[in-house]
Every structure is written in structure tokens, then in C-alpha cells.
């Protein structure tokens, strides 16, 4: 007996909705098996995660706090994927953005937030964008594989930040901890009420709206989509693929850079080591988000909030049930695998060839 795929005549609409839902459920089932193997009741764990993330207003605030950099990085990655440029470097671009924003503060300049915040955003955007332009330029000029270059530059960016917080920017009063001193008031983003939700969330949502219009309504958005789905047609239509790669990566890296800026200016209030969670870095989660969101800005916002819930829930069970926080990554990856497989099954039908069926027909 052999398996093969047969193209469905019509794409199944029902399956397109069903696939993501079933994927989430299946990944929770698989993860439940892992949890059982360590002697944990998965239902208790999932219940605690859900209750903490979406059951309390403080918890939901924290979900939005995590969702903010995820939306920004996710939008950037989405834009690059739209063009089939594999930007796996959001993590590095985020670190460079945090560095660029901090560089503005480190000049010693102390002004009102009206001046400092825009300057820091510019610094973060520029640093992230420049970092993303390196692999973009190499791709355009030499056709260098961008998956590898964007990824390796992540390691370099993290070491770059480490150099500054262990060295020239280290706060002498930090008792040896690798961090800068706390930012002055003017360099801190406004927070809402008692929560840690900050102005960065508003920026992220505004950028999502802007990207929606660019993607759906502008000629440039059309060019990106055509270049991504059919590069040859784009070339015949006279679209400049090289210029578009550079522009897309400028924006993509810049958005991840802003994610880094809002993390240091809205949450950490200083530059320090783990600006992105070590166990499930924002820049990598953004790749999953962009893919699950089907490259749609609203999808990015929605999936980022769900992933934010996973982060908050994961941290909760780590503290209360002593579970490894790694289950966040495991669930994320499993969802993507099931969606990947499910997408194929909604386009094709799995057929089993049997010997007798062949001879009978």
C-alpha cells in the first residue's frame, strides 16, 4: 500500500477554517503527552495557563505587553515573506533597534518625551534597518543565501549588545550586573493605568493599519505581492526586484528595530541582557506568527495576542508548577507543523493505493 496526494478540484473552504483550529487542539494534545511523561496533569496546566493569561485583567495586560514586540516583529517578517525574502533575522534587528534607541539616551541628552521618544524611535528604526540591509544588499548583489546571513547576524547583534552592556555602557552602580543605568523620565514610554501596557502597543496597531493600506491599496504593495508570487511576471512588468528587496528589508528591519526600542523604553527602562526572552525569543516567534497569520496584518495582530497568551501562561506554570518554560516553544512549533500539513490536506486528498484496487480497475 502506498500513499499519494491527489489534487482536490475545489479548495475546501471548510478545511481552511478548520485547519488552524484543529492544529491548535492537536498540538495541545501532543504537548499533553509530553506533560504526562513528566507526571504533570496537562488539564491542570492548561487551565492555569488560560486563567492567568485571559482570566484576569492584570494577566491580559501582560499578554498585551508580550504581544507588542511580537506584532512589530511579526509585521516586519510578514512583509519580507510576502516577497519570499526569508528574513529570519528579526531577533538581531530587534537587538540592534534596542541598541540604537539606547545610543540616543547614552549621549547624555535629557529632554522632554516629546523630543526624546521620536529620536529614540528613529535611532531604533535606523539601527534595525541598517542591520537588515546587509543581507538584503548581499542578496541583491551576489545572490547570497539570506536565510543563513540573516540568521547568523542574530548572533552577531546579540554579542554587539553584550559588548556595550558589559563594557562601555555598564552602570557602575549595578553591582556588576550587565545593564545600563535606568533611562531618564523623558526616555520612558507612557504606560496605561496600573498596567505595564505602554504606548508601543498603539504604535504597533497604527503600523498594522498602515501596512494593510500599503499592502492592499498601493501600487508598491502590489509590486511586492507580484514579485513574491511570480518573480518572472514581475520582471516582465518592469518591476525592479532588487530595489524592492532593499526597500522591504529596510522596513522589515526597521519595524523589528522599533520593537527593540519599545521594549527598552516601555518595559525594561534600560538596556540589559535578555531584552527578548531566552527560552522563546520574540524574533523567532515572529516567524511563526507571520506564517500562521497567512501574511495578513490583522492576522498578525490576532496571532500575536494568542502567542502573548502562551508566553504569559507558560511563565505562570513555570513558576507555580515548576514546568520547563520550553513548552511555549514546543506548542508554537507543533501548531505550525500541523498547519503546514493541514494546508496541504486542504488542497490535496491523501489517497491510499492498494494492489487489488489497481488490478481490479
Amino acid at each position: 500500500m502506498a500513499m499519494r496526494l491527489e489534487l482536490r478540484l475545489e479548495r475546501s473552504r471548510k478545511l481552511e477554517v478548520l485547519v488552524p483550529v484543529v492544529s491548535v487542539l492537536l498540538s495541545l494534545v501532543v504537548c499533553a503527552v509530553l506533560l504526562l511523561s513528566t507526571g504533570t496533569n496537562p488539564l491542570t496546566a492548561y487551565g492555569a495557563m488560560l486563567k492567568e493569561a485571559f482570566g484576569t485583567s492584570y494577566g491580559f495586560g501582560e499578554v498585551l505587553v508580550k504581544a507588542t514586540p511580537l506584532i512589530l516583529c511579526g509585521l516586519g517578517v510578514m512583509l519580507a515573506f510576502k516577497m519570499m525574502f526569508w528574513n529570519i533575522g528579526a531577533e538581531g534587528q530587534l537587538h540592534m533597534g534596542a541598541w540604537g534607541a539606547t545610543a540616543v539616551v547614552m549621549t547624555g541628552w535629557d529632554a522632554s518625551a516629546w523630543l526624546m521618544i521620536p529620536a529614540m524611535m528613529l535611532g531604533g528604526f535606523a539601527a534595525g534597518a541598517l542591520w537588515a540591509l546587509i543581507p538584503a544588499y548581499l542578496k541583491v548583489k551576489l545572490n547570497t543565501n539570506e536565510i543563513i546571513t540573516t540568521l547568523l547576524l542574530n548572533y552577531v547583534a546579540i554579542l554587539w549588545v553584550a559588548h556595550f552592556i558589559y563594557g562601555p555602557w555598564k552602570d557602575p552602580t549595578s553591582f556588576g550586573f550587565p545593564m545600563t543605568k535606568q533611562f531618564p523620565d523623558g526616555a520612558q514610554l507612557l504606560r496605561f493605568g496600573d498596567s505595564r501596557v505602554h504606548l508601543g502597543l498603539v504604535f504597533a496597531l497604527l503600523i498594522a493599519v498602515a501596512l494593510y493600506f500599503i499592502q492592499e491599496k498601493s501600487r508598491w504593495g502590489f509590486e511586492i505581492a507580484v514579485t513574491g508570487s511570480n518573480p518572472r511576471a514581475a520582471e516582465y512588468a518592469g518591476m525592479n526586484a532588487g530595489r524592492n528587496i532593499l526597500l522591504v528589508m529596510l522596513l522589515s528591519g526597521g519595524l523589528a528595530g522599533i520593537a527593540g526600542m519599545v521594549e527598552v523604553s516601555g518595559i525594561q527602562l534600560k538596556l540589559l541582557k535578555d531584552i527578548s526572552p531566552h527560552a522563546a525569543p520574540y524574533g523567532y516567534t515572529a516567524i511563526i506568527i507571520a506564517w500562521l497569520a497567512r501574511r495578513n496584518p490583522w492576522g498578525v495582530v490576532l496571532v500575536s495576542i494568542l502567542m502573548g497568551g502562551l508566553y504569559v501562561g507558560g511563565e505562570t506554570v513555570q513558576i507555580t508548577m515548576k514546568l520547563p518554560v520550553n513548552i511555549v516553544l514546543i506548542i508554537q512549533a507543533l501548531i505550525l507543523f500541523f498547519v503546514l500539513g493541514g494546508d496541504i490536506l486542504s488542497r490535496y486528498r491523501l489517497v491510499f493505493d492498494r494492489k487489488e484496487a489497481l488490478s481490479g480497475g
Binding site: 526569508w86 548581499l138 543563513i148 540568521l151 548572533y155 554587539w160
Partner: protein, 312 residues
């Protein structure tokens, strides 16, 4: 004068071979997978799975050899996910590979938690009688551990199978033109599954080298980008197992040099030195892409393209 220079250089070269060996294992496996037309960018995750499976098995058995076998099996089984999703379901190879890395990072961290802080059994240095007495070369190549010697045996075998056997011809034809290979009676599916599983087993070995020979412990995310560096080296090696050896030791040399300079205390900031292997890899990749632009030696023609018989 000359003698004192050797005293300085020989340990670095010896360390270069040690640092390069895990990458060499992974690189040989990925060359086979890519030659068959399947790109697996999940090497980083596969290495981590191999490292933790190898360490756990070696630690429980008290014997590193058990760990090596466990790592190869774990790597092969884990790569089965990628094989199924990309070969049978024909999903995007890049997305599947990335997801494999994320899953491998998560799973190795999950199962590795009880192993943090444990010291496992490791491979000892064995001087090969006779050969290790050769000046310079003997010290560099023949005063190493058993896994390094295993890699010395594997590279020529991998080269010979690829270029001198019928199996190698089948693999290369499946990666260049699957439709033709199929019409000549080669099972594209079987060859690709075989190559991806072999690649997974080798990546598992590379990971096991890190946790059983290079160090004798498990550290979360201990592969530190070596899986990605390997992807660049495959291109540098022009998909040839013999050239992979050169590339792996070149990278190993950068790694060894970086650690050595830090130890000597030359005035280059530590974190800039630590960037060296990554920056060097990007440099190598740039040179390799320039060369392939000029001479048009490139990837296997069907790399990353799914194959379906009815779409011929």
C-alpha cells in the same frame, strides 16, 4: 625560534580539528540530503536533539558509545518529521526546517532540564601508535578522541559512495532531475527519505560530539549556531564531502583562534572575538556566492522543489 612558533600553533590546529568535527558530521549529512533535493534548515534543532539524547543515554549507561548510538537514532527519528512533511506532503522545505529547529530547541530544553549541571561520561584522547609520533601532523590529527577518528573514516566513505557507486548516482540524479530518475526506475521518495534520515542521524552525531566529547555536559542551546554555520559550509564545499572537511576545519580554526586570543589576553574586546566564527562564515558564504555567480557551479537543480509524479 621555529620551535617556539610550533608550540604556539600546534595546539591551535589540534583545537581546530576538535572544533570542526561536530560541524563536519552535520555537513556530510546535509550534503546527502541536499544532493537528493531536500533542503533541511532544521540542523540546529537536530543537533540539539542529538546532544541531549546522546548525553542522557550516555549518562544513564555510563558509556559515551551508547550515547553516540542514541544520538544518531534520535536525530534520524526527529528528521522523519521533516521528511514526511516535505516529501510526502510536499510542504515548503524552508518553513518545515525552521519549525524543526524551533521544535528541537524546545524539546531538548524540556527533556534536558533534569540533566543541567550533571557531568557525563566523555571520550578520552587516544594517541594512535606510530602515527601520533609524526611531527606536527601526528599531534594535530592523531592525538584526538574516537569520534574524530570516526569522522576521518566517514568522510572518504561518504565521498566514495557519492561519486563512485550506483547509490550515489541515484542520489545525485534525484536531486538534479527527479522526473528522469523516476522514469529510469529510481524511487525518488525512497532515496529522499533515506538521505534526509541519514542527514538527521549525522546531525545527531554532531550534537553528541558537543555533549560527549567537546564538553561532557548538557547546556541549553549549546549548538550555538553551528547548525546554521553548517548550511553555509555546504555551499562553500560545493556539495562535496571532501571539501566539507576543509571548510569544517577552517571554521574550527576560527573558533580555536578566538578562544586562544581570549586566553592570551590580547587587547581585542571579548565580544568582538566571539563574533569571529559568525562573521567569518558570512564572509565565506559571500565568497562562495561570488564564485558560483562566475563559474555557475550551483546547488542541485531540484533543491527545495517538491516532486510529484503526476505533475510531470
Amino acid at each position: 625560534m621555529e620551535g617556539s612558533l610550533l608550540i604556539l600553533v600546534v595546539p591551535i590546529l589540534q583545537a581546530a580539528v576538535r572544533s570542526g568535527t561536530p560541524i563536519l558530521f552535520v555537513c556530510i549529512g546535509e550534503i546527502y540530503a541536499e544532493r537528493s533535493g531536500i533542503l533541511n534548515v532544521g540542523l540546529e534543532g537536530l543537533m540539539l536533539v542529538g546532544a541531549i539524547a546522546g548525553f542522557t543515554a550516555g549518562f544513564s549507561a555510563g558509556n559515551p558509545v551508547v550515547g553516540v548510538f542514541a544520538a544518531a537514532i534520535a536525530g534520524a527519528l526527529f528528521s522523519l518529521i521533516h521528511a514526511y512533511v516535505t516529501i510526502t506532503l510536499r510542504a515548503d522545505q524552508i518553513v518545515s526546517g525552521l519549525t524543526l529547529t524551533i521544535l528541537g530547541t524546545g524539546i531538548s530544553g524540556f527533556f534536558g532540564k533534569p540533566m543541567i549541571g550533571q557531568v557525563g561520561p566523555g571520550f578520552d584522547q587516544i594517541a594512535i601508535p606510530g602515527l601520533s609520533k609524526i611531527p606536527v601532523l601526528g599531534q594535530v590529527l592523531f592525538q584526538q578522541d574516537a569520534m574524530v577518528y570516526l569522522s576521518f573514516v566517514l568522510v572518504p566513505i561518504a565521498w566514495w559512495v557519492m561519486y563512485k557507486t550506483h547509490l550515489g548516482l541515484s542520489i545525485r540524479s534525484v536531486g538534479e532531475n527527479p522526473a528522469t530518475a523516476d522514469s529510469l526506475g529510481v524511487s525518488v521518495t525512497k532515496v529522499r527519505y533515506g538521505c534526509v534520515l541519514f542527514g538527521g542521524a549525522m546531525a545527531g552525531l554532531g550534537g553528541a560530539y558537543l555533549s560527549l566529547a567537546y564538553t561532557t555536559m548538557w547546556i541549553e542551546q549549546m549548538s550555538g549556531g553551528r547548525g546554521w554555520i553548517t548550511l553555509a559550509l555546504v555551499i562553500f564545499a560545493a556539495w562535496n564531502p571532501a571539501r566539507a572537511m576543509l571548510g569544517a576545519y577552517l571554521f574550527g580554526g576560527a573558533d580555536a583562534l578566538q578562544l586562544r586570543i581570549q586566553a592570551v589576553g590580547i587587547e581585542i574586546p571579548t565580544y568582538f572575538l566571539m563574533m569571529l566564527p559568525y562573521v567569518l562564515t558570512i564572509g565565506i558564504l559571500v565568497l562562495a556566492s561570488r564564485a558560483s555567480l562566475r563559474r555557475r557551479i550551483g546547488a542541485p537543480a531540484a533543491l527545495a522543489l517538491p516532486y510529484a509524479r503526476e505533475e510531470r
